[in-house]
């Protein structure tokens, strides 16, 4: 069942059947899932791109904090909430 937080060692990745793709005609990044399409803004796309199944949650947050020169705690909270939301919808494996 659902856990409240994401383990720092979790290695999030897209499950089979969920793909992030860039589509010019639709004007940007989209997450394709079973019979559903989610438009992803640039930030969401940057997060999802890093969910390779190799990088840990800690790695992903560190990388985003560095890339966007943003406070680490804020990034951790935002990324954690987004990944949890995606996992609840079966769009991410943690």
């Amino acid at each position: 069942m659902t856990e409240a937080t994401i383990s720092p060692d979790a290695r999030p990745r897209l499950p089979r059947g969920v793909r992030l793709t860039h589509n010019e005609a639709q004007g940007g990044w989209v997450l394709l899932a079973p019979e559903r399409v989610f438009k992803a803004d640039a930030i969401a796309a940057e997060i999802v791109k890093r969910c390779t199944g190799e990088a840990t949650f800690t790695d992903i947050v560190d990388d985003l904090a560095k890339t966007f020169a943003a406070p680490r705690e804020r990034i951790a909270a935002d990324v954690g909430a987004m990944l949890r939301g995606l996992a609840d919808k079966k769009l991410m494996e943690l």
Binding site: M1, N23, V30, E35
Partner: protein, 361 residues
């Protein structure tokens, strides 16, 4: 892409009805009463072209459907063509006629997702509804093979009076089958379902129970399985935004190549459909008479024209408006604001225990 200076929306999804052939005879089949014969079906190369044109037009997902798409010998080639066009490829199957070897070949060809329908959580009843002995067992076997290949599985449970009391069992079955998503899809009354309406129609009390059950099951299984519910039309207060708005988000190609704004559109007389044999998909999307007929909301009468929900549900379903009022431009009478709503309320109260009229080709 623009006509008269106004940007047209781009379609997101394409329903590819590869064939109308199907081993099952479900009495709620949404296919038209007049089916496309096998001799008229598009060939592999034409489907490949259509899929490429769809991707260029902006389509992201293709739903390979039918009939039973596995009735086509070239299903693997068509799947490969969809993937190489960059499309997210979804197989909508009865589960009958897809062997484990064939499924493995489909996965190899890049299939992204499988949706299998189930008729009931009880085997005997399920086979009776499908009009096919052994269908339930075959569907279970197919689902197991999908999960073994680590492909995501959606179970589509079609709900009507004979199984509406078992929504909880149906969701439990979907979990047992390894699905990550289940559709509680109340029958919609088009095509063959319209012929069987009084036999399929649940009572208001049954619908209320089922809606409550879904809410409770969503809480209970949060994070384990996604439960999508399609509202039971005749018992709703507002109409569904059919296909997300006419000619706005999706298109449908019939086995013979006619392009429709929705799968039931041929039930509306007087619409002119263009074929992929004569036109590109983009031409058809932009200017075929069937697509422009009800695009937008300008054609809508009152009470839709001044309704705050106008851009939410687009006045509902054109096919249903025609089927129930004789006027395809009318407000969908499912809407409680429609002057014809009393008719829907009346039909929702007609339950008859007759034998199913099975769909046979």
């Amino acid at each position: 892409m623009a006509t008269n200076g106004t940007a047209l929306p781009r379609p997101l999804g394409l329903l590819a009805e590869l064939t109308h052939r199907c081993p099952l005879g479900c009495p709620y089949c949404s296919n038209p009463l007049a089916l496309d014969p096998r001799a008229d079906e598009l060939d592999t190369a034409t489907w490949a072209r259509v899929l490429n044109e769809a991707a260029a037009l902006g389509v992201l997902q293709v739903h390979l459907s039918g009939g039973e798409p596995a009735s086509r010998r070239d299903l693997v080639e068509i799947t490969a063509a969809a993937r190489s066009a960059g499309l997210y490829t979804n197989l909508i199957t009865s589960g009958v006629g897809v062997t484990t070897q064939r499924l493995a070949a489909l996965a190899e060809a890049g299939l992204d997702h499988v949706q299998v329908s189930i008729q009931d959580s009880e085997e005997k009843s399920a086979d009776h509804i499908a009009g096919y002995d052994g269908a339930y067992a075959r569907k279970r076997a197919l689902a197991a093979a999908v999960v073994a290949l680590k492909l995501p599985l959606t179970v589509n449970a079609v709900i009507h009076r004979a199984n509406i009391a078992r929504v909880e069992n149906l969701v439990a079955l979907a979990l047992e089958m390894g699905a990550t998503r289940v559709e509680i899809a109340h029958v919609q009354y088009y095509g063959w379902a319209l012929k069987n309406r009084a036999t399929l129609m649940p009572t208001r009390a049954q619908v209320d129970e089922a809606v409550k059950a879904v809410e409770e099951l969503r809480k209970r299984h949060h994070g384990r399985i996604v439960i999508d519910a399609v509202v039971p039309d005749y018992h709703a207060r507002f109409p569904k935004p059919c296909v997300g708005g006419w000619g706005r988000r999706s298109l449908n190609v019939t086995p013979a190549g006619r392009v429709l704004p929705c799968h039931a559109a041929e039930s509306i007389p007087g619409l002119e459909f263009w074929s992929v044999r004569d036109h590109s998909l983009e031409e058809i999307w932009i200017s075929s008479p069937a697509f422009t007929a009800f695009r937008g909301t300008a054609f809508l009468p009152e009470p839709c024209q001044t309704c705050e929900r106008r851009e939410i549900d687009f006045g509902g379903c054109r096919c249903q408006a025609f089927a129930l009022t004789g006027d395809a431009r009318a407000t969908d009478p499912v809407c409680q604001l429609s002057p014809h709503h009393a008719l829907v309320a009346e039909l929702a109260n007609v339950q008859e225990d007759r034998s199913y009229s099975y769909r046979r080709m």
